[in-house]
Each structure stands twice: as C-alpha cells, then as structure tokens.
Amino acid sequence: MTESGETKVIRTACGIVDGVRCGILAHVKNGMLVKVEPAEFPDPRFRHICARALCSTQLVYHPDRLKYPLKRMGKRGEGKWQRISWDEALDTIASKLTEIRKKNGPESLAWAIEVMAYIRLASALEATMINPIGFGDAAGPCADEVTFGTQYGHLYTMDLKNPGMCVLWGANQAETRPYYWRRIRDAKERGAKLVAIDPRFTSSASKADQYISIRPGTDAALALGIMNVIFERGLQDKTFITQHTVGPFLVRGDNGLFLRERDIVPGDSDNYVIWDTETKRPAAYTQGGTRPALEGTYKVAGVECKTAFQLLADLARQYPLKTASEITEIPAKTIEKLAVEYVTRKPVASYRSMGLQRTFHGDLSWRAVTTLAAISGNINLEGYSEGYRRFLFDGGTMLYGDRFPRPMPILKAYASIMDGQPYAIKALWLAGHNFMNQVPDNNVVLKKLVPRLEFIVVSDIFMTDSARYADVVLPTCTFFEYLDMLPPLDILSPYVQLQPKVIEPLYESRPDRDIVNEIGLRMGLPKDFPLSAEEYVKRVLSSGHPSMEGITLEKLQKGPVETPPYTITGFNTMSGRLEFYSERMKEYGQELPVYLEPLESARRPQAKKYPLSYISTHTKYGNHSLMANIAWLRELNAEPLLEMSPRDAEARGIADGDMVVAFNDRGKAKLKVKVHEGIRPGVVNINEGWWHHQFAEGSYQELTHATINPAQLAVFEPNSAMYDNLVEVRKAD
C-alpha cells in the first residue's frame, strides 16, 4: 500500500471476469474508489487489464446497486418489494430454511453460487450444492477425465515452448482468454502459423493465417478425417503412441475391454497385454523388454483381439477426406493440408475451448481433438508440470468440519425441482449466480421450476433476473468491499493474490461471508461455525496444502505470490497412459472418440421447421450477465444483436438493423439483427449475458434446451449444449 497525496493506492485482484484474476491497483480517495489500473507481476506476461475492469467504478457506484434487504410483496417476478431490516431478512431466511429442512430433509435446501463462502454453510447443513460448471463448461472436463484422468488437461495440448502451429478449435482466445492469447501471439511473432476453426469469424480468427469455417458440432469428424490422412500416410508418432498411450494394448473383440494377463492365465495379474512382435506372442507390457505391435488383429486365449490403435485407425478409416468433408463442410484439400501440417509443423498447439464443448456431444469433439494431438505426437508432457496450479487450493478449507455438501449437476436440478427426482429441492439460494438468466430452457426455469420452489433467496449486487423472482433479496458487496484470498483462476497463472478490503461496503450491503455466519448461527449451528474473512485467510494459509508452501500473509500483503509448481508424472488414468480408448465409455458406444451428429443440427428432421443453428457466444464486452448494465460498455455494445449472414437474411426478407424474432418450440428472443459477413450461413448467434429486459421480448436462453447427456453424467456431469440448438428467424411484425 502506498500513499500519494490523499489518494491511497491498494493492490487487489479483479473479480469481474471469471477464469482470470488480473492484478489491479485500486486508487481510493476519501474512502471512494476513483480509479483502477493494471498491477505488475513478477512475470510480466500476467500484467493485464481489460475494458471491463476499467469500468470498476461504474460497477461499484452503479445507481442500481441493491442498497438494503428486500422482501417480496407481490407475485414472484412482479417487482413489488418492501424494504426490510437485516435482522428481519436474516430471521425470515433462517426460520424458513429451518422449517423446510425439518420437513423435507437437509438436501431440500440448495445453493447455486459464484461466491465460495456459502460452501461452508451448505456443508454444515449437509445441503445441496448445485455445481455451476454444467452450464457450459462440463464437457471438456468430462473428456479430459476420460483421456488424461484429470478434468483440466488443457496444458497437455497447448505446447508452451515454440509451437510451429497453433490451432484454435472453437476458441476465441483474443476476446476471452487473455493469457492464452499472449502465448499464441508470442508464438505467432516467432513464426508459428495460426489456424482458427470456427463457425464465426472472431477477433482471434482475424489474426489467423488460415480461417476454417466448420459446420457447428462436427469437430470430431474433422479430427477423425485428419487422423485418417495421417494414418494412411504412416505419419503418426509411433514412439509417442507406444510409450504414452493405450495404443499398443490389446482390446478383446468380445467385450471391448482391455485384455489382461488374468484373461490368459486365470489368477494372474491385471496387467495390460500387448502383442510382442519379437516373440510373436502376447505379453504383459513392461517398459522396455518387449516390442509391442501397434497394429493388427491377434487371437489370444481364444478371443480375437485388436490393438487399441488398430481400433482407432479402423474408426478413422470411416472418415476418408470425402466423408469428412461432407460432414464438416470443409473442403477436402483444407483437411488434407491441416493433417499434413499437424505433423510437419510440430510441435502443434491445439487450443480446445468453449465452442468445442458446447454441443451435445462436445465431450467427444474434445476427445477427438485430444486424440489427434496424441497420435501426431503433439502432447506436451513437460509443460504440464509448469502451469497446472489452478485447482491446488485446498477445497477442504471452505468446508465446515468434516461435513460435505451434496453436489448436484445443474441440469439434474431441473428434475429435482420439478419432479422431486432423485429428491426434491424446495429452497434455492442464488449467491452471485444469475440462474434465471444463465441456465438453458429459460421458459421451463421460469414457468416450471420457479413456481415449484417454496423459497428463493438471492444475494447479489443488483436486482438481477434471478433476484426478481426471489422471496428475499440481500444486498452484497463488490470485490472491492471485502477481504478474500484468491487462488490463481487461470490455468496458466501461478499466482495467489490477496483481495483486501479496499473500500467500506456501500449502503447496507454486507459481504457474503457475514451473511453465511449470521444465517448459520440463526439456524442453530455450533458456536465455532462463524468464520471471519481474516480467519478464513489464515485457515487457507495454514492448511498444510503443498500449494501454500512458503506463502504467508505478510508476503501476500506485498503482492502476488507464486505457488510452487505442481508436477503430474504421466497420466492419472486407470492405465497410467493417455486413454484415447476408454473401457468405461464402452457401454455408451463411446470407447473411442466417435463422431455423433449434433442433437439439433441442420441435418436433423426438425431442421425443416427450424433450419438455423443457434449459438450464444461470449464477448469482450461483459462476463456472463455481469456488466450488461454498465453504461461505458453499453456505449460500445448497446443492445443484444442477432448475428446473421447476408444470405440467410436475404432469404427471409430481413435487412440489417431490422427487429427480428428468433424462435423455436421452447421460446423466442426479439431483438435487432446484425447482418454481416462474420458468421457462417446457416448459423445465428446472440451474445450471451444480456438481461431479460434488454430484449424486446424473450431472451437468448429461451431458445436452448437442457437435455442431459448420459455419458457425460456417468463420467462427471452433463453439460448444457448451448451451441446445439435449432431456431428459425423472422422479421418482427
């Protein structure tokens, strides 16, 4: 902390954009936040600020900040409120939650949060915690859990040292992942080729040497087509496949499981079996000593077996250039060239991102791209240990004692609230989580979920779309108004940062942690339940977790502190290898990264009625629904727009700037159209995060479905397929 005149400059970390924690210097004058600017990091690649963070003063002093607790007076969503005291609000909430808990069990209370402090309360009450990751971010983790045995395998495919080519698979890093983008830019400036595969021509695509327009959701077919070219020419990295993947392991033809030693000699080990090319016999795989066959079919113990690699090659063979091109609508020559470059420009960094995972089979797209990276020898084993620190924070410090909340995937919450399956959620507390705006199939949420809930609490800084449906609304603080400690959120960032209290809470707002403490006591939790922010920070620091080694409060008060690097040796899978073939996915017919047509593609029968693929992408102008009400950003991005190709517009008699309605059986969104050449014909886009009232009618999430993918559910949790929906668009009356 330094003083200059009467302006205090306090270092903190930005809490606006999820996925990044940029360091910022907050200037405070007479107790008011007057300015922010970027703060330095020991590694200058992390010095960063964006337009959103520079609007901090607009966020903190926004005239619409919630100022005091409110009680609903009219019907839910009607907007009639009465100001109440904190005591009344807390007493009401505590007694209502206690009553519901007594009647329906602890699991009937549920939290959906973006503020971690509530984990303590939910765990102490053994209540339900709705995991927010399933609204868009769960398919990639599902896929990496299968392939790598860890949910966040990004760095395995993003070679950090001197890539010869970077390939963006549904990734707009220039707008949404600044630290990744800097690495891409640095690679580009060192001469790497940049390829962007996307149905939209994004800012990132504008920087690419090659832009490839793809039919949405067909990335797995593209990856398989590329693999087939590589296999046909024998360009695969045989050493890598043999040494680091399940490629040489024999797979039983009768049940699809890996052949084990015990299958040959009953009672023998669980060791995986390979075909030894020297002895021409099956053998347990040991590093060295054996010469495993990578290809071929072998009869072992009366069972026909193939190597996992052979099975992959067989699958890829179903995607010759003609077929891959027909599915993806990418010219065969483009696919062929990309295939060759995946080998000749090694190392190739594959950036797998949100666009890749938000179709119904996004996990398979993700796995297919990973498999391509593996067979071409573009997996970064070394770099992995350098960066993966994001999730090292000891999650146990957030819990109360040894109690755990009950996790529930967000898409499972629909059935829980509507049908009581597998149990009924009766009370929902949304903390900094704009559920009613952000989750798919918004009409179902508002018309079927909301009425089923006995009690809804929202703690937030604004009267959000969610708060409008609450029974009690609690005003909370922005990240400038309370102390917290922050793990590095971006996978690349190694820094732990302190978020000090920069200014006093505004109006009657209170930090969420205080609310948690007050509710806990009122609900009869023991005296040791309340935990101050200072105690929480101490708790994390003294957790004994390796990520906290050498980190003290004194050091954090001076600036960001680097966590020790975390090393993973090999892969955390059952086999200890990269599993492009997965036994556990056999029952879903997904033991290999197969291509499956998107649930709502333009080639499905329902496309006759709704021919346009609808996506809802993220932008530089906001973070989810946060910042959609910030005047400075609205000057640049005034209102929701439907992006549409001139060809699609013309076919519908739509002109640029017209009011249009995008609709399907689930709902509609009425808004202005932006007709331009930045989007693939047949695809329309509305940037996500706009509030309900900012649309003339409906909202961007009325058009999406909440269908559960059972394979994803089995591995981790199902993802919302927000980029896999069909709509039609007409000119508004």
């Binding site: 337009a51 600044p178 830019r185 800012s203 040497d209 832009y211 530089k620 640049l636 640029d656 930045g678």
Partner: protein
C-alpha cells in the same frame, strides 16, 4: 534536441478489445465518448469483417489525436485556442475555445470531440498530465494487446523509436501532410486503413 512525444501502434497486435477507449474515459473523466476510437477495418459494423464469407478479413485501427507536426486544427482555429507544446503535444486551451468547431472540419482524422455541455472542443492530450509526472499515456499502459509503444520520437533509446527502426511503420493519411506523431505498424497483410 527538443522532445517529440508520440505513439506507435502495432495493428497486427491490436485485437480490438476497446480497452484504450475505456481507459481514456476513466483517465480523463469522460462520462460520454472517448478521445480514442477503435475502427473496425472490414465490414459495415464494429467487429465485422469485409469480403464474402468465408473469404473475409478484418483488423482494428485505434485512432486518436495524431499530435501532428503541422496540425490543420491549429490553423483552422480562429481564436488560437489550439496550440502546440514544445514537446510536440497539441492541446486545446479550453478557456479560449468558444465551441465554433472549425477545427472539427479541419482535422482529417475525426478525433476532436465537441462537448456540448461545456460548449468547447476537447481531445486527446497524449495524457500530458501523466507525461509531466514521468508516466506513460493511460491507454498505452492499459493496452490489453500490448500493441502500443510510447516515447520521445527524437530519442533513439525510446521504445517507440526502437520499434519504428526495426519494423515497417507508416502514417495515417500521409497525403494530408500533417506529419503525425502517431505511427502504425501495419498488419501482416501490410494494411493500415
């Protein structure tokens, strides 16, 4: 040699994040508008490419006061409210300006802003108030893409000069003969406008 402050903007690095626009608002207390804008070079909208999909292209062009050697705005001002400092920064004397806006017509870059509330013309000062404290312009220090280089164009050791001596750079609308202190490193296709 006298100082000549200027900026070099790398258009291949610029990602159109608009951070400079908001930075300018914050630093200069501009409730509405900004003294820097980011043009999309390509299509008919912000963030829109030109061409026919998928053969399209787009880049971003931040435009601010060029702090010209020969500022047409200065010549156009009937009240001599626009002046050039010895360090090359072109300023509006807000006390002398009567809001006639003759300078707006004269400027080939469209970077002067009429403030109706105050009835004066305002514009980028290259953050002269920061430069006087040894700081760099706020848009430059906030540039998310690290696409801006600031310095004394007469000082061979300044980062701005280092960039223009090692890389191709060009001026915006050189035909106007204004000799700007803002230079651009073109995109990889060699484009500025």
């Amino acid at each position: 040699m006298a100082k000549r402050y200027g900026l070099v903007i790398d258009l291949e690095r610029c990602i159109g994040c608009n951070t400079c626009i908001v930075a300018c608002k914050l630093e200069n207390g501009l409730e509405k508008g900004s003294w820097i804008r980011v043009d999309t070079i390509g299509g008919n909208h912000r963030d829109s490419p030109g061409g026919k999909y998928p053969n399209v292209s787009m880049h971003f062009l931040p435009v601010l006061c060029m702090h010209c050697d020969k500022p047409p705005c200065l010549d156009a001002c009937p009240l001599e409210a626009i002046f050039k400092r010895t360090d090359g920064i072109v300023m509006v004397d807000e006390k002398k300006c009567d809001g006639c806006q003759a300078c707006l017509q004269a400027c080939p870059y469209g970077v002067l802003v009429y403030d109706a509330k105050k009835n004066i013309v305002r514009k980028c000062t290259l953050c002269a108030h920061r430069i006087e404290k040894g700081l760099e312009p706020f848009c430059k220090i906030c540039c998310e893409a690290e696409a801006m280089y600031f310095g004394d164009l007469n000082d061979p050791s300044s980062s701005a000069v280092k960039v223009i001596t090692t890389r191709k750079s060009a001026l915006l609308k050189p035909e106007a003969g204004t000799k700007p202190a803002v230079r651009y490193c073109p995109t990889r296709q060699g484009r500025i406008e």
